[in-house]
Structures are given as C-alpha cells and as structure tokens.
C-alpha cells in the first residue's frame, strides 16, 4: 500500500527534475509531464495516490514554474493557469483511477467466471457419472425411478422405466408432456388401471408410502408385471411437493412364482407334508399336506424355522442331516416331530437341496410322510383284529353254549315229558310195574340232572347269576386237580394240594368255583413252561381265614414260573389282557368277577423266590344254613 504513495512522490519528483532540466535547456516548461505523472500514479495506485500526485504536481508546478518562481505565492495573472492545471490534473487523475478500477473489476469478474466454469464442469462430470451409475444400477436391477410433481402434474421417469414400459422414444423428463392419466390409461393394464389410480390417489391424499403391483401393456401389446412403490416428499408446511418412487419389472419373478405355485398346487394334492425351507431353515412353502400333518397353517408356518416349529428330534443330529445335504444334496430318514396339538409323530423324511442356475444352494425341499398314523393304523388294525377274534370267540362261546343248551334241553324235556306221561299212565294197582315206575323216575331225574349241567354251563357263558349252594372248597380243588392230572403229567409238572382240615363250608356255585381254580392252575402251568423240569411245581393251599370277624376260606395257587413284573401286576385282571402268546386274556377277569359274585376277592403277588402266587378268599357259609335233606 505504501508503494501507492511512493509512486506519486517519485513520479512527481522525477517530473520536477525532468521539467527543470527541460526548462533550463529548452526554455519551455512541459506542464503535460505533470499530467503524465498524475495519470501514472492514479493508474498504478488508484484514486488516492492520483490525488496525492495531483496535489504534489500543483505545488511543484506553482513553486517551480509559476512566477514568482521558487515561491508558493501566486500572481493574480497566473491564477487561471494554476486553476486550469489543477483541474486538468485532477480530471486526468480521476479518469486514470476509474479506468484502473474498472480494469481491475473486469479482471476479477473474469477470474471468478473462470473458477465457476471449472467447478461446474466438475459437477457436471459427477452428475454424469452418478447418472451413469444409476442407469446401470437400474438396468441391472430392472428397477426404474419416477417422480410426480404436484405443481405441474408432470411425471418424470428414468430411462429404465422407459425401457420397462417399452416407451424409450418418449422423453417425459424433457418435455414433461407425459401426464399421469396417460400412464393409467395407456400403460397400466385396463383391468388394473382403476385399482392403480385409486392406490395412487389414496397415497397422495394421505401423503403416505405406498406399494403396488400391476400388469402393464407395452406398445407391442405384450404384458409385463411390475411392482413398485411411492414415497411422498413434503415441504416444511407438510404440503406434498412430489411423489417419488420406483418400479421394478417382476415379470420373470411372477412367472417363476406362478410356476412354483402350480407345482405347489400339485404338491397340495399329496397327503405328504411338502415343505420348502431356505438356507436358514425358514419355511417358504408349506403344503396342504403339511397343514394336515402338523396342524400349523401355511400362514403360521411361513418364516418359522422348521426345527424349532416342529421341535424336531433327529435320529442322528441336525448337523449330520445338514452335512448329508451339503455333500450328497439329499437326505432320507426318520424324524420325530411335535404337531401343533403337542402330539409326537414319526415321519419318513426325504430332503433335497435345491440350487440356482449356478448350483448355489437356495432352498431345501422336504417331503415328510407321517408314518405314525400308518404304524398306529397297523397297530390299531392288529389290535382290532385280535380283539375281534377274542370277542368273536367269547361271543361265539356264549352263543354256542346258549344254543347248545336250548337244543339239548329240547330232547331232555321230551324225555322228561314222556317219562312223566308214562308214570301217569301206569295203573297204580300194578306192583309188577314198580320196576318200570322206578326206571321212569330215574330217566326223569337223570334228564333233569343233564339239563341242570347244561344250564350251569350256559349260565357261565352268559354270566348269569350263579346258583349258590353250601359246598366244600376242598372238593372243588380236588375236582380240578383230577381234571388236570393228564395235562400236568404231559407237561412234566407236579401239582400238590394242601388243604387245612378245618375249612368251613362256603356258599357258592361249584362249577363257577371250579372254573376259577382251573384258570389259576392252568395259568400257573403256563408260567412254568420255560423253567427247568425239576422246578415245575405247583402248590395249592387251602386255609381258613378271618375277615371282619367272619370266617372264610383262602385258596392260594403258587407256581415257580416266570413271575410277574410291576406293569403286569396292574393289568392282570383287565379283560383281554394277557401275557401269553395264545391267551384270550379273559381268564382272570372272569375269575375275579366270579369270586366277587361270591362276596370274596382275588389277588396276585410275586413270590419271595421265583414265580407268583394267585389267591382268592371267599366267605364261609352262614352257620345257620340248614342241613341238606
């Protein structure tokens, strides 16, 4: 800055020197030189240095060149010259200074312009690059973007949308002539247009994000599926400025999904559970068979992890299954799953790895067949068959017995009738016919006896109320021992009966009690089939007992057989429960009902050593029972 003031001093000084020298030798004062000094100072330094040069020039001019010379005093006559000189110098100085500042401003403006130009060029390059990136991205993702301006209703869209919609020739982004209605009327499929229009207007009205999916019609009349979304842009006043969004061509995806759906429909026909799960084991497809098998609906299953949802129990391990899928691409085996209702089911599972075109694993197809039902059905069938066989045998036994009783009773009754008629017809006064009379009486009595036996057998089969008479239990036991003598000998078994001498009479049905003892003896023999011959001993004990102050008889049948386990103990007396390969499981159930009908009880207990003991106790007959006549 100081230079700006040094310049006027030096230039005016130099001018004085030059003008003095010229004045001396040329006798002329070149006043214009001072003008030059002022002009130079003003141009170089600006207005203020120009003013300084002007003042210095005026002073120097007056001092050196205006008479009186070497004085600042001014003659009257010289005043105009000084004034003119001053004005001229000032004018020239101002002019020069303005010229100078104008030049500077111009220079600055020029510099600025150049800088801006550079900046813009860079921005333009960035923009071009971004646009290129975007376009490339959109092209690769088949996703285009669009914007709808509220102000003028103009619809702008990216090149990718133009490509998707087959309207590359139209340049809506340039002339903004493509109106929204044109899109709904001419681009969107007529069947979808109404809905799309509604969706758009709702989103605009509510200023909310929205998603849509529709078909569009290309100029060549082909149809494509698009999926898109819109996002409202609002200003500070919450007014909608524009709607921006994207559109993606999902035609291929839709076609693929449609294909899968068609396949799924076929899969839905299968009763097997067909499940597709992604790499994270999350369900992406859940067939109707799966719904039926597991109780979970497709909606509920989607996105869930199969192993968690079904609480899978692996025969080996999840890792082993995964490894097999990874290495062989498939796995087959049994799994246990828990259904929605908490039921455990066993499934035969076949799983295979599904890959994309490059073979990268994308999903696992799992086909599970519920074999629990099959197994259960088989079991149920077997059980049903067995039960049926049992019931049939028992029913048949009952029916056969009843029918047999009836059939046999017919001739027996006829015999009794005839014998009775003969007796009635025989004249009373013929002692020679007494023998005939006695024979006829015997015929009647025997026929009645036979009929009574049949009736008891029938009663047993029909479980009719028993005919109770006072009897000796030891007789019952001895009958059974005699009855089974052949059988026990054949099986190389010994049966020993130990009856106490003081057993009271019991009130009971002999046949029924025989049935019970026989059943216990046969059970005991069956239990000893597999033990050593020396150990095959069956002991029947009879003893008097007292229960609640009343006498009774206890009969125990002790074997040395295979014995009983806890579970068997609990079910022993259930009908049709048997531990024997060919047993009907009725024996003990019937025996117990018989004993209970006699007011007693039947029980089983394991022995201290091998085998088990079955016992029953029946009350003694009341002591007031009249003696039989």
């Amino acid at each position: 800055m100081i230079v700006n003031y040094v310049v006027p001093v030096l230039s005016v000084g130099a001018t004085v020197a030059v003008a003095r020298w010229l004045d001396l030798y040329l006798q002329a004062a070149p006043v214009s030189l001072f003008i030059c000094a002022v002009m130079f100072s003003a141009w170089l330094g600006g207005f203020v240095p120009g003013l300084v040069a002007t003042v210095l020039s005026v002073l120097a001019f007056q001092y050196y060149f205006v008479p009186p010379i070497y004085s600042f005093a001014v003659e009257i006559a010289e005043i105009p010259r000084v004034v003119v000189f001053t004005l001229a110098a000032f004018f020239v100085g101002s002019l020069s200074a303005r010229q100078r500042s104008a030049t500077e401003a111009l220079q600055r403006a020029n510099d600025q312009l150049q800088a801006e130009s550079t900046e813009r060029k860079r921005a333009e390059e960035d923009a071009r690059r971004n646009e290129a990136f975007l376009a490339e991205g959109q092209r690769l993702s088949h996703t285009g973007s669009w914007s709808w301006q509220v102000s003028d209703g103009a619809l702008l869209w990216s090149q990718e949308i133009a490509r998707i919609t087959g309207r590359e020739s139209v340049k809506p982004s340039v002339d903004a002539a493509f109106h929204l209605d044109d899109v709904f009327d001419r681009v969107v499929h007529p069947d979808d247009a109404q809905q799309m229009r509604q969706l758009f207007h709702d989103a605009v009205g509510d200023k909310v994000n929205y998603e849509f999916e529709c078909r569009i019609v290309l100029p060549d009349r082909s149809i494509r599926h698009i999926a898109g979304m819109g996002h409202p842009v609002v200003n500070e006043a919450r007014e909608l400025v524009e709607m921006i969004g994207t559109i993606a061509d999902v035609t291929e995806r839709r076609a693929a999904e449609e294909e899968i759906r068609k396949q799924a429909e076929l899969l839905n026909l299968a009763h097997d559970a067909v499940i597709v799960r992604d790499r994270d084991s999350r369900v992406t497809f859940w067939s109707r068979g799966a719904e039926e098998t597991y109780g979970w609906t497709a909606v509920e299953a989607f996105g869930r992890t199969t192993h968690e949802l079904l609480q899978t129990t692996f025969r080996t391990s999840l890792e082993a299954v995964d490894a097999a899928l990874r290495e062989q691409g498939e796995w087959e085996g049994e799994l246990t799953h828990i259904t929605r209702s908490g039921e455990a089911i066993v499934v035969a599972s076949r799983q295979s790895l599904q890959g994309d075109q490059r073979g990268a694993p994308t999903a696992i197809l799992e086909i599970n067949r519920d074999i629990t039902d099959r197994k259960r059905a088989e079991d149920a069938l077997r059980t049903a068959e067995a039960e049926l066989a049992h019931v049939t045998r028992v029913t048949t036994l009952g029916e056969v017995t009843a029918s047999f009783a009836h059939e046999v009773n017919q001739p027996l009754a006829a015999i009794v009738n005839n014998a009775s008629a003969c007796l009635a017809l025989l004249p009373d006064d013929r002692p020679d016919l007494d023998e005939v009379r006695m024979a006829l009486a015997d015929i009647t009595s025997d026929a009645e006896r036979a009929s009574a036996i049949i009736e008891r057998v029938r009663a047993l089969a029909m479980r009719s109320p028993a005919e109770k008479i006072p009897l000796r239990v030891e007789d019952v036991v001895n009958d059974v021992v005699a009855l089974t003598a052949t059988e026990s000998a054949a099986r190389r078994m010994t049966i020993r009966a130990e009856m106490a001498a003081d057993l009271p009479l019991v009130l009971g049905d002999r046949v029924q009690l025989q049935q019970v003892v026989l059943n216990l003896v046969v059970n005991g023999m069956d239990a000893m089939t597999t033990v050593d011959e020396q150990e095959r001993r069956l002991k029947i004990r009879g003893s008097r007992d007292v229960q609640d102050g009343n006498f009774g008889v206890t009969i125990s049948v002790q074997d040395q057989g295979i014995g009983l386990n806890g579970a068997e103990m609990g079910r022993l007396f259930e009908a049709f429960y048997t531990t024997k390969a060919h047993g009907m499981g009725m024996g003990l159930a019937i025996s117990r009902s018989i004993i209970e009908m006699h007011g007693g009880r039947l029980w089983a207990e394991p022995n201290q050593g091998p085998g088990a003991t079955f016992s029953f106790s029946v009350p003694a007959a009341p002591s007031t029972v009249p003696d039989g006549d």
């Binding site: 009843a402 009783a405 009836h406 059939e407 009773n409 017919q410 001739p411 027996l412 009754a413 006829a414 015999i415 009794v416 009738n417 005839n418 009775s420 008629a421 007796l423 009635a424 017809l425 026929a447 009645e448 009929s451 009736e455 029938r458």
Partner: protein, 207 residues
C-alpha cells in the same frame, strides 16, 4: 244253561318229539290236546268252542312264541298262554308275563308244573268266557233300553236320587220313578248295586 264243551289244550312247538311228548303228558291228565308245528298253523285252525289254553314254545323258526302272543292280542283273540323255553332270559320273561302269560316254564319242567299251569290257564279262560258271555247278555239287555232310559240309567249308576235326576233332566220325579222301574226290569237287576256292577261290566262310566 249252556252246556260247556270240554277244555282243550293247544300245543305249539316246532320240535316234533317235544310236541308229541307234551301232548302225551297233558292228555295223561285228561285234557283234550291239539298240536301245531308252527304259529301259522295254529292261526289257521278254528277257534275253540270251550275253554282252552295254549302251551307255546318261545324259540321257533319263523314266528316266535312271543310274536304269536302279540298277534293274538292284536286280533282280539283271548287265550291264556303258558310259555315253555329251553332257556329264558329275564327280559323275555318280563315281556311275556306283562303281555298276560299265565306261566313261563323252562324246559325240562316237572309234570306237575305244567299241569298246574294248564289248570290255572283253563280256569282263567273259563272265567273269561263266562265273563264274555255275561257281558254279551248284559249288552243285549242294555240295548233294549230306550234312549231316555239310558240317560236315566247313567244318572242312577252315579248314585243320584230320583229327585236329583228329575232336576237334572227337567222332568217330574214320578216319571223318573217310572223309568227306573223299567230299567231295573229290563236289565234284570235286583238292586242299584247290581246295576252299578253291570254298568261296570258294560264299560259305562259310573264315577
């Protein structure tokens, strides 16, 4: 007096030996016996003149004894029935007895059991026949009454006095007295009590 025809015992049983032996047994007690092999055979036979009973087997091919009992009741044929069967279930017995069976015997039965039942049944049928005859005769007498006399009788059997009846029928007490005499004469009733009994047999309301 009507001379009574001898009682007849009908035997229906599908088993021939049972049929013949029963016939023999019943005949030995002095009854006339007619046997039939099936319910249908029995239904085709003419109805007995005198007192009768039916010894009926329960279990027969085709129509069972219980079915026959139901059909007889349904067609108004009143004959006492003695059921015999090879084996009897309680429900079967109950059903038969409820339907009016005299006895339910299980084969083989004692001679006396059957004969006692037969006698009871015949007695019952005799009584029933007598009753039926009586009712038939009473009905004939009742039909001789004039409509007015029937009206008066209806009130008499309800225990009303002549005066009350006259009031009820809006007529003179003397007229009622006259009607009453006619009624007693036509119905052959000696007393009001007997008239009430007759009304009961005829099924007239006496309450």
């Amino acid at each position: 007096m009507v001379t009574e025809t001898d009682p007849t015992v009908f035997v229906v049983d599908d088993d021939p030996s049972m049929r013949s032996s029963t016939e023999r047994l019943v005949r030995s007690a002095g009854f006339a016996v007619k046997t039939f092999g099936s319910a249908a055979e029995f239904l085709e036979s003419p109805q007995p003149e005198g007192p009768a009973c039916l010894v009926l087997d329960v279990r027969m091919p085709g129509q069972s004894g219980l079915d026959l009992q139901r059909d007889l009741t349904g067609s108004g044929i009143q004959i006492p029935i003695i059921f015999v069967t090879g084996h009897a279930s309680i429900p079967m017995t109950v059903r038969a007895m409820k339907a009016g069976a005299v006895e339910f015997l299980t084969k083989p039965y004692r001679r006396n059991e059957l004969l006692q039942a037969v006698r009871t049944a015949i007695e019952r049928d005799r009584g029933a026949r007598k009753e039926r005859l009586e009712v038939m005769e009473l009905r004939q007498r009742y039909e001789q009454l004039t409509p007015r006399e029937r009206d008066v009788m209806a009130l008499v059997i309800r225990g009303m006095l002549n005066k009350q009846i006259a009031g009820e029928l809006a007529t003179a007490e003397r007229t009622i007295k006259f009607h009453r005499a006619h009624i007693m004469h036509k119905m052959k009733a000696d007393s009001v009590a007997e008239l009430v009994r007759m009304a009961g047999q005829l099924g007239l309301a006496t309450a």
